[in-house]
Assembly symmetry: C2
Homo-oligomer: 380 residues x 2
């Protein structure tokens, strides 16, 4: 896209609307404030982001009058979760720029569409089948061979809406476990580790990519992200190229997270990195960027949304980020006293089981140069 | 003070009141949010801090009903500027903990009281005389010898309320330049450089001290702060000991900034570091701690106010902080595009001459170990 056709960047003092009131919205609002930008949170429920935003609206995502009023109060809109109703995003997009676009939401909201989209870019994903019935499931298991995972096409996160399919499983029971809803059966991948790539793309198509963290999940929830990943340079380059390809294919603006499986050294070169799923937003596996980089994923997302130049994605330190889940956050006094720990608490009232309450990032001196790859020169 | 007598730390979700709505209040509010603490800004005028606070009150500092209402809405009160009316601080302190205490305000609000307080601790300050009339001024000039600086005792900042006294100056004219208000005449110190020490002291008396920056002023306004200072270890140790002594003497809670002159190698050892003035608050010369430390001055201030353990004051990078004053902030697009620059804008509407609009911190890899000194073990 020629530079001349780009809208002017939104100047400091402008207001960015954010759909969603969770901790990601909270960290986006704080990052926007650093740049002199105001934020306006729109959500059905109040949440952690309400405490730090300049303005807030509590209204339903199908309240078109409230959405219209919100659009009139902001210069651009972004979102902190991928399950924003498409109709709401489209309603807003007719009134004010929405970044990333509704297209990214549509792809990311449906696991089947997502996998077909990524496969069409010649990027490996786990073998999968669309499942609309128990009969489909039986046929697919025969083709893909168990163990596999059945995942609802829509509204799953943090391991919800998923069921394992072990050899000899009761097909009807598994089908009921995901609520007999349209789903995708994925062959379970014997991965060596999980990584993610956080790519930010500006309105002019400039790209920045943070160093890939290695991620560890427990009971479907992210527990830990560690940089550097210490993987082979060719695999890192492949992960970066994949993320850049997906961002460009979506004409994406903002931070896009691509979760990937790394299959280990035995897999053929070029097949060692496989996409698990994408999130069209800032991502938990990038929280370490707040403390280990000059410009965090949150700030770079807001820069892209506001049409600003991207900031550097370089890191000054190695980092280990650990989530504080449920009652773990009650240990805040000990964590606050730990020398050098960067403690982040989201201000949620109730420490419910499985709820992300905060995180801790532990920095150490940088042990190796930043990741780099052949396709990622612009924006770095 | 025995631990048992300390109040319990304020848990996440508590609200800290902040008197003042400027950029320091804004950065304090953002730092509080990181810890899950809410903030409530109280000020006569709205300002940059209003955009990021959970709650705001716009009312006069002599509106006792509004102050009482504010006190009822917060668990503790702190301030972002040293000219909070003492009566307001005392009114609040009768209702809710105010940290740092009104004592620190009283000392810092009056240059004469401040200099007498510091001198009484056997800490060097520039030779000074109290001035209440043109006649006093004439006599003091004869004693101290010009060049000197006449400064009003109250309400001076960023070089306001000051007049140079050169040899042969018109005494009546100089007296009128400071508004014929009670003042202090200080001998002008031929310093090699200006430094500051940012010390944080917890409710239990634990101490943390950030590395001393070297500060450069232009027309009375801070232009640049650079760490490390690359001064002799004995001088750094002395600067740290001085700051700790003042903080302890004030039974201080929070971040205290001590601005100092470094007289260079020719001065006698032990006399090479002299106090210029103190600020009972977070300080412009500590803004680099946001980007170069795991725990910034703002977060450590809020930790102290909330009764939390102090965070580390260690830095992971060298840093150069430059203020953006007046129209310099209009250059935000170029600054945003500068690789590796950490850009901070305060969201002020009007870029008036002399107004602090933002700052830029440039990081580089850490070139030497942290400062340390004999008196600063606790809290580090």
């Amino acid at each position: 896209m020629p530079e001349a056709s780009l809208p002017a960047p939104l100047p400091p003092g402008s207001t960015i609307g954010i759909l969603g009131s969770g901790q990601l919205g909270r960290m986006l609002a704080v990052a926007a404030a650093r740049l002199g930008l105001k934020t306006h949170i729109y959500c059905e429920e109040s949440g952690p982001a309400f405490d730090v935003a300049t303005s807030t609206t509590k209204a339903s995502f199908d309240d078109t009058a409230a959405l219209t009023h919100f659009a009139g109060a902001v210069e651009a809109v972004t979102y902190e979760f991928e399950n924003v109703p498409i109709a709401a995003a489209r309603h807003l997009a007719a009134l004010v720029p929405v970044r990333p676009s509704a297209k990214a939401l549509e792809v990311a909201q449906d696991r089947l569409v997502e996998k077909e989209f990524i496969s069409a870019l010649s990027i490996p994903v786990a073998p999968f089948r669309a499942i609309d019935s128990a009969a489909d499931l039986g046929a697919a298991i025969a083709q893909l061979s168990a163990p596999a995972i059945l995942k609802t096409r829509r509204l799953g996160y943090d391991g919800k809406g998923q069921a394992s399919v072990e050899p000899g499983a009761d097909i009807e029971a598994v089908w009921r476990m995901v609520g007999t809803k349209p789903a995708v059966l994925e062959q379970r991948v014997a991965f060596a580790c999980e990584i993610s790539t956080l790519v930010v793309r500006s309105q002019s198509g400039a790209i920045g990519i943070y160093d890939c963290p290695v991620n560890t999940h427990e009971t479907g929830i992210l527990r830990r992200s560690v940089v550097p990943a210490h993987l082979a340079a060719a695999d890192i380059a492949r992960a970066r190229a994949i993320a850049q390809t997906i961002a460009a294919a979506l004409d994406y603006v903002g931070v896009l997270a691509v979760e990937m499986f790394h299959l280990g050294g035995d897999a053929p070169v070029g097949q060692r990195v496989m996409v698990n799923e994408i999130a069209p937003r800032v991502h938990n596996s990038g929280h370490w960027t707040i403390d280990a980089c000059s410009v965090s994923q949150f700030e770079n997302h807001m820069r892209a949304v506001a049409g600003w130049p991207l900031g550097s994605t370089a890191r000054h330190s190695d980092a280990q980020m650990v989530n504080l889940i449920g009652q773990e956050a009650l240990d805040w006094q000990r964590l606050a006293a730990e020398p050098g720990a960067c403690l982040h608490l989201y201000g949620k009232r109730e420490a419910r089981a499985g709820r992300k309450m905060g995180h801790v990032t532990r920095l150490s001196p940088k042990s190796c140069p930043d990741d780099s790859g052949p396709l990622t020169a612009p924006g770095r």
